[in-house]
């Protein structure tokens, strides 16, 4: 593990667009229920040392999740593949304990779009929150071992809260720093409810 890294921080490298919101919320909910700290580039202000801070944030995470399902379009979106490259460099370092996972919407597509990763398995979520939850539970485990139904219940409630946060912030997107923090605060509180219901 990199110096100063947190064993529970998980970096989310995902597309910031409306069509991905439900999947993003499902991932945040899942990480909260698992007891992980969801981290995102949303935490980093747009200053000139952004890249250094981004690298520092990724190095501080135990693992990173990179969704390359929505990189096409014009102009193409380079941020996700770029951050995946950074994570690979961190993870392949000799003493690193950083693990990185690639998510895709369709099976076998990453072999065509990113052949450098051939031999590495992409986790396919099908573009749905349920798929994202299943993938997340495949790659991250915790001593809590919540089932998909528990994570799904929190994700559904969190998606309702997200609508309210967007309204409060007069935003048409959840991909804003303040909304992200509120989602995590709400997700952790709802996780306690969901985990309490299990006892």
């Amino acid at each position: 593990m990199a110096k100063g890294s947190s064993g529970t921080s998980v970096f989310l490298n995902v597309p910031f667009d409306a069509g991905y919101e439900r999947v993003f919320i499902a991932l945040v909910a899942g990480l909260c229920v698992l007891g992980c700290k969801p981290r995102s580039v949303l935490e980093i202000p747009s200053t000139k040392d952004r890249l250094h801070r981004l690298l520092g944030l990724m190095r501080s995470c135990r693992l990173s999740i990179h969704d390359v399902s929505r990189v096409s379009g014009y102009p193409p979106r380079f941020n996700m593949p770029f951050e995946l490259g950074l994570a690979a460099a961190i993870g392949l370092g000799r003493w690193s304990r950083h693990d990185f996972f690639v998510l895709e919407r369709r099976a076998y597509r990453v072999q065509k779009t990113l052949s450098d990763l051939n031999g590495y398995d992409a986790h396919v979520h099908g573009g749905t929150p349920e798929g994202a939850i299943a993938v997340l539970l495949d790659i991250v485990g915790s001593t809590r071992s919540p089932g998909p139904e528990r994570v799904g219940a929190v994700a559904r409630a969190l998606s309702i809260a997200a609508r309210d946060f967007k309204r409060q912030h007069r935003s048409d997107s959840v991909f804003r720093p303040a909304i992200f923090r509120k989602l995590v605060a709400t997700g952790t509180a709802l996780s306690e409810v969901a985990l309490g219901a299990a006892r």
């Binding site: 947190s6 064993g7 529970t8 921080s9 439900r22 909260c32 698992l34 007891g35 992980c36 700290k37 981290r39 935490e43 135990r62 693992l63 690979a88 392949l92 950083h98 693990d99 990185f100 996972f101 690639v102 590495y120 398995d121 749905t128 929150p129 349920e130 495949d138 790659i139 991250v140 485990g141 915790s142 001593t143 809590r144 139904e149 528990r150 799904g152 219940a153 929190v154 559904r156 409630a157 309702i160 809260a161 309210d164 946060f165 409060q168 303040a178 992200f180 923090r181 509120k182 995590v184 605060a185 709400t186 952790t188 509180a189 709802l190 306690e192 409810v193 969901a194 219901a197 299990a198």
Partner: protein, 72 residues
């Protein structure tokens, strides 16, 4: 590296909600806003209800009085 030919599962020791909030520098007012939304929209009840009866993925907003279909 886990993203390998034989991907493994990373097992973590869960952080407490307080640790998670501290890591993300979630402010007290943001925690308060989250709690208010949970209370107003009765999201805690919704979570319990869904877990009790998974087919009832429906919650009612106390603010609007309308139902929100949350099934996907």
């Amino acid at each position: 590296v886990t993203a390998s030919r034989k991907p493994g599962k990373v097992v973590i020791k869960p952080a407490s909600p307080e640790e998670i909030r501290r890591a993300l520098k979630v402010s007290a007012s943001e925690v308060k806003a989250a709690k208010r939304v949970i209370a107003e929209l009765r999201l805690d009840e919704a979570v319990r209800r869904v877990l009790k009866n998974p087919s009832s993925a429906r919650v009612v907003s106390s603010r609007s009085g309308r139902s929100h279909h949350t099934s996907r």
